[in-house]
């Protein structure tokens, strides 16, 4: 690392090389920019072309639908409290789907992560297997699993819960194993040397290190899962999404209900978002404080 290394190229050589590098960078940068712009433009044109309405014709109509919904909702503003009460149980169901699937997914994700991290896995040879399992769980959109399960199990919250839990397990499995990779293996080795078994090593050596990060990610996932569970309602998995789809789909005449459900959903998402943001902040913050002490 010292500058005394012999045989350094002459300054002229360095200058020539550097000029060459700069030119090359400029050319590449230019090409990249052109390619990017061309891709965006071509992509937009294709999408516009394959769409029923075009962007130019439609953009001034983007407020038509919200206006229709809101004006009806406003007319029937008196019915709002009643609507809110009517759909509250559906909200509880949606929250339950999200919470239960987050809980189950977190547990499964923890397992997947421990199984697929070098130095922690119980069966190191199977690390690639568990990684692929996590990848696949993550790659399948929830809606696919949910629809298949609805076929077998019938509609309702359970297919949605399972579908979201599977996806959550995959997503968290990946995130957690990244956290694990950053965790120090020293405590694990220390525990190994006293004759602790695998579960003791994981529980005492790994979990305390990664716990706050895990919780933080799980909370984030909970936010995402509330949306997911609402979306799955659209395809028959119950909860707020189901109610929202029915009333939106009926349209005029039940837009007041749609607005009420939407309000419930939106407020819930924002509240959970804020709360979990606060909590996560505290977790990571507290974590740093602990390290500094």
């Amino acid at each position: 690392m010292t500058d005394l290394s012999a045989g350094t190229p002459g300054v002229d050589q360095i200058k020539a090389d550097y000029s060459e590098m700069t030119r090359r960078k400029r050319v590449y940068g230019g090409i990249l920019l052109i390619v990017f712009v061309a891709l965006m433009a071509a992509g937009f044109r294709t999408a516009d072309d394959r769409n029923a309405g075009s962007f130019v014709d439609g953009w001034h109509r983007i407020f038509d639908y919200p206006t229709e919904v809101l004006s009806e909702a406003w007319e029937k503003i008196g019915a709002l409290p009643e609507n809110l009460v009517t759909f509250f149980p559906a909200l509880v169901e949606t929250l339950n789907i999200a919470a239960a699937s987050t809980l189950i997914g977190t547990i499964a994700g923890t397992f997947l992560a421990l199984m697929s991290t070098r130095g922690m896995a119980m069966w190191p040879a199977l690390i690639p297997l568990f990684r692929r399992i996590a990848d696949i769980c993550r790659a399948i959109p929830e809606i696919v699993i949910a629809l298949v399960l609805i076929f077998v199990l019938g509609g309702g919250p359970v297919p949605a819960m399972i579908a979201i839990a599977i996806h959550t397990a995959g997503a968290l499995g990946k995130l957690f194993s990244e956290v694990n990779e950053n965790a120090s293996l020293k405590p694990v080795e220390g525990l190994h040397s006293v004759g602790a078994n695998w579960s003791q090593r994981m529980y005492l050596g790994v979990i305390p290190q990664v716990g706050p990060n895990y919780v933080s990610y799980a909370l984030l996932r909970f936010e995402i899962n509330i949306r997911a569970s609402a979306i799955l309602g659209f395809v028959g998995a119950g909860g707020l999404g189901y109610e929202l789809r029915n009333s939106m789909s009926w349209g005029q005449g039940r837009y007041d209900q749609a607005a009420a459900i939407f309000l419930l959903l939106f407020v819930t998402i924002v509240v959970v978002d804020q709360l979990s943001g606060l909590l996560r902040d505290r977790l990571t913050h507290g974590f740093e404080k602990g390290a500094r002490a």
Binding site: N51, A52, G53, D57, G58, R61, D64, Y65, E68, F151, G154, G155, G156, V235, G236, Y242, N246, M248, S249, W250, G251, Q252, G253, R254
Partner: protein, 280 residues
């Protein structure tokens, strides 16, 4: 005023790609007739097509009666009905059929008391609108969950209703059929027949528990603001399709039928009233 393209919407109920394939010939005829590029769109549910018609992004579609009523109620100036499918027997009606599993012991609406009842799509005439009016008339109670039926659900569509009943997910449900032919075959056409053909249900395991009054077949509608000449051309094209190309007609009409014949808004007043009734 000129148009630069023509967009036809196709309702759900069958595989999206099958629907597009069945209507491909119609697209080609339209292109020839109008001389502009023509596209087919097959959104996931009834509402997708309706929104397209309302927003002016879809020019023509074959709607269900209730769907037309919704379009009309949202914006009376959006579309006008021009044609209707006429069955082989000359009529243009079909039925909403209530059914249940044989082994559940349910044979009539009376047995359904306290049980779970399944509707299809909220915008379906036979899967929701008509039964939601006629069944309360028959039972003398509302369709609210817990009033007469223990629970009332929307399954999302005709196919889902059949599966839900077959699975015991709901105890009874409603779907559509033409009422012709045999129960064992799932009638001549309709959602039940399709399910039988697909090997999904065995009609021996099912019983019919209710049948509605005839429901008028939904209209083929066209956007009002299109140039008169375009509307006339398209109406003529559909009208003549049964003579011009039998194969194509079969695909567009989704089965055997006589032809598409002209119809006007008045035929749907009653459905519109019914729908108004259901809007709170």
């Amino acid at each position: 005023d000129e148009i630069s393209e023509f967009r036809i919407g196709i309702l759900g109920g069958e595989n999206a790609q099958d629907r597009l394939n069945n209507n491909e010939c119609l697209r080609e005829y339209t292109e020839k007739a109008l001389g502009v590029e023509t596209k087919l769109f097959a959104p996931a549910d009834y509402d997708g097509v309706i929104q397209g018609l309302l927003g002016g992004t879809i020019d023509m579609a074959w709607l269900g009666a209730s769907g037309y009523a919704k379009t009309y109620l949202s914006d009376p100036e959006a579309v006008e009905p021009v044609l209707v499918k006429v069955n082989t027997d000359g009529g243009y009606g079909y039925y909403s059929i209530g059914f249940a599993r044989k082994d559940s012991g349910i044979t009539s609406l009376d047995d359904m008391k306290g049980k779970t009842f399944g509707f299809g799509d909220p915008n379906s005439t036979s899967g929701y609108l008509i039964p939601s009016i006629e069944i309360p008339a028959a039972t003398g109670a509302t369709m609210e969950s817990g009033d007469y039926f223990g629970d009332v659900k929307f399954t999302g569509g005709h196919e889902q209703t059949i599966v839900a009943v077959n699975n015991g997910d709901v105890d009874g449900g409603v779907t559509w059929a033409d009422g012709l032919g045999d129960w064992e075959d799932g009638f001549q056409s309709g959602a039940l027949r399709r399910a039988v053909d697909a090997g999904l249900v065995d009609m021996n395991d099912m019983v019919m528990i209710w049948q509605s009054e005839p429901i008028p077949e939904g209209p083929v509608v066209i956007r009002k603001s299109l140039p008169t000449e375009v509307k006339a051309k398209m109406t003529k094209l559909w009208d003549n399709l049964s003579e011009k190309d039998r194969e194509c007609f079969y695909g567009v009409a989704a089965g055997e039928a006589k032809s598409f014949d002209p119809i006007t808004h008045d035929a749907y007043e009653i459905i519109i009233e019914a729908r108004k009734l259901k809007s709170n």
